[in-house]
Symmetry: none
Subunit: 403 residues, 2 copies
């Protein structure tokens, strides 16, 4: 939903004591194993999800639009009701969220790569031989804390050759070009302003790159850096503003907590397992009316091409479903932010199975939670941004529109 | 997709060696024969399409939107990914494409009807008694080549009383009213400018109509002409610009080649039969990565109300499916630009069956290509403009959106 749609939902949304749990099994959708003809979800033994499907209503969501493979950012924004094409999160911001960096609204964040350049300045390796994360952290310390024209430049390691650069100061804008040429054998691109207002920002970024080059020159193979995905935090209306919810997030990985913070969810401290997440849910159950519960293992297994491990993680999720039901939430939604078929070893464009359970849903005849069964589900196939209005309606949190 | 959506797809599309074949069986969708309860597609013996459906994924497309019956122009533009409401091809332009007229970007084209007027100038027959095409051609020669205010007026016969008028010169605009009153017993409408910039164009068109009236006065029943659908070629982003494809068209009829040229497809010379089209496909297979293959016979049979002939043409198409598969394209899409039920003897609003086959599609349980079976297809029902992104995704030609 774009701003007009969100404004509409805001207009009809009500605060109420009912509770919604959105369980996101990251990368849930799959493709059939050629040997069995069954997807990961179809292979997994999921008696509890199947029971929920029997009593609920199923279907498919398109996170962005048919054919489009979403990254984690767009996939989750859509689940929270925000049109991910309209609200586009930059790579720099997403990387910052991913390391729990406390990004301020005016900060400009860039994704950095350490790279190798030759004596002529031509890029010979865009990833500096994938230096270790420890080496990356040391180099980031050297580059961190410079002040250019009253702007502080913060540098934090991410993983291997990857890091973030955050420009903090007044009046900054992300409307500058990238320095990463995306190929070797050429010099890094000169950062330029994309509009007249961005000329100071472009100048600061160029000065920073020059200073960094001087600092890094003796640190081959990481003797230069490349910047891209230069972006600022989106100013999104919060879920409290739109849905009048008091929302919270339970997620093991920082990026998902960061995404949830962008839309105003409160972060609940949790451990590292699905069971830890459930314990967190139980402890905090009375204090919120919306819980975004994130399970990462399915996506990681899919990305690794590990069909069996993805099946196992789905079964682990199934194990905790009775605990979720025992809390008696008014609405449970189970879905994914996108598909990650183990066969493709990557996110994919395939629509994602979705299950909605509530006292007030109109159950269909779907008796198991699987891609095949969802095809005849009562929810049909619809944009992921419609999940929130559906969940709100089933929690009796949307008033009648018009007389 | 409108310009914003196309811009989005352009942003994530990749050039790659994979190949897509879009087989359009014109007017494919049908209605059940009251005697058998089966549509044309359901009646036809189509073992090869059924096999493709078994291994692929099926569904329904709405060419424009539910309830809207598309003409050939909108139907095909939608299949190519262009929102046909946003990109509206004028009737004059479409008629020009239909006779292979080499329309220039600044030409203004109108669809003409020879008609009969009485002594008072009132229209008594809007089709001049459907004069023969030969007679039409003779009259067009009399009207062709006039020059008015530095604008050359080209006139070409189409069929029976139908012809086109093309105004060629500098600074022309199609923003003028039509002269066809769409009823008898009244005088033709006076052509007027629809905005101030169009006053010269309106004056030229009026002068042309006056001169034509003088020339035709002795040629009763074709003693006058009526103009409508006054339009200019759309400036569309090409399929190469959007999808980074090298696209080609194989079509027997000029209108479909013309539509394809509008979106930048290269026209491949072919013969008059489906087998000729297949031969053309094979000869050119290595040179392009997208092939729009058009079969006309189904629509013609439907328009004629000839249920059995439509069935036979579908069976002819089925016969060449193994040849298409043997080329091992990465994606095959089989669908129509609209439905043409023999029972209605016309285009209709009914959604059109669609089948997508690719190594990476998520197969559904549909085991035959038919209206009834497609109802439970995994693609669901979706706008025809989404076919191209889906085909692109399945050919692994779309990158991930967002991190």
């Amino acid at each position: 939903m774009d701003l007009v749609d969100l404004e509409f939902i805001k207009h009809i949304s009500l605060s109420s004591p009912t509770k919604i749990i959105l369980l996101v099994i990251d990368g849930l959708g799959g493709l059939p194993n050629p040997e069995t003809g069954k997807t990961e979800l179809e292979t997994a033994n999921t008696p509890n999800l199947d029971k929920l499907a029997t009593n609920g209503i199923c279907g498919f969501i398109d996170p962005v639009s048919p054919g489009v493979t979403p990254g984690s950012g767009p996939g989750h924004l859509a689940l929270f009701g925000y049109n991910p094409i309209h609200f586009n999160i930059g790579r720099g911001v997403l990387e910052a969220l991913g390391i729990d960096f406390d990004l301020q609204p005016e900060d400009v964040a860039a994704r950095g790569n350490f790279c190798t350049v030759d004596k002529a300045g031509l890029v010979t390796d865009r990833r500096a031989g994938r230096i270790s994360t420890e080496e990356c952290a040391k180099l980031c310390q050297l580059l961190n804390g410079l002040i250019i024209d009253r702007v502080k430049v913060l540098v934090r390691p991410v993983k291997e050759h990857r890091f973030i650069v955050v420009f903090r100061g007044e009046g900054l804008t992300p409307a500058i070009s990238e320095s990463d040429p995306q190929q070797i054998g050429v010099i890094p691109e000169l950062i330029t302003a994309l509009n007249p207002e961005a000329s100071r920002m472009a100048s600061i970024a160029r000065q920073y790159v020059d200073k960094a080059r001087a600092i890094l020159t003796e640190h081959s193979p990481a003797n230069m850096l490349l910047l891209r995905g230069i972006s600022q935090r989106l100013q999104l209306p919060t879920m409290n503003e739109i849905y009048k919810l008091k929302p919270s997030v339970i997620a093991v990985y920082p990026m998902y907590r960061g995404l949830a913070k962008l839309v105003g969810m409160e972060v609940l401290k949790t451990g590292t397992s699905i069971e830890d997440e459930l314990a967190t849910l139980k402890q905090n159950y009375t204090n919120y009316d919306f819980f975004f519960l994130h399970v990462k293992g399915t996506d990681s297994a899919g990305e690794d091409g590990d069909f069996d491990r993805k099946v196992k993680v789905i079964e682990q999720v199934d194990n905790v479903i009775p605990d979720i039901i025992s809390l008696e939430p008014d609405v449970i939604v189970v879905t994914g932010d996108h598909s990650t078929p183990a066969l493709l070893k990557s996110h994919s464009w395939h629509p994602v199975p979705v299950l909605l359970y509530s006292k007030w849903c109109r159950p269909d005849r779907v008796g198991e939670f699987s891609e095949s069964a969802c095809l005849s589900g009562g929810l049909g196939r619809f944009p992921a941004t419609q999940i929130m209005p559906l969940a709100m309606a089933n929690a009796l949190k949307l008033t009648k529109f018009g007389a």
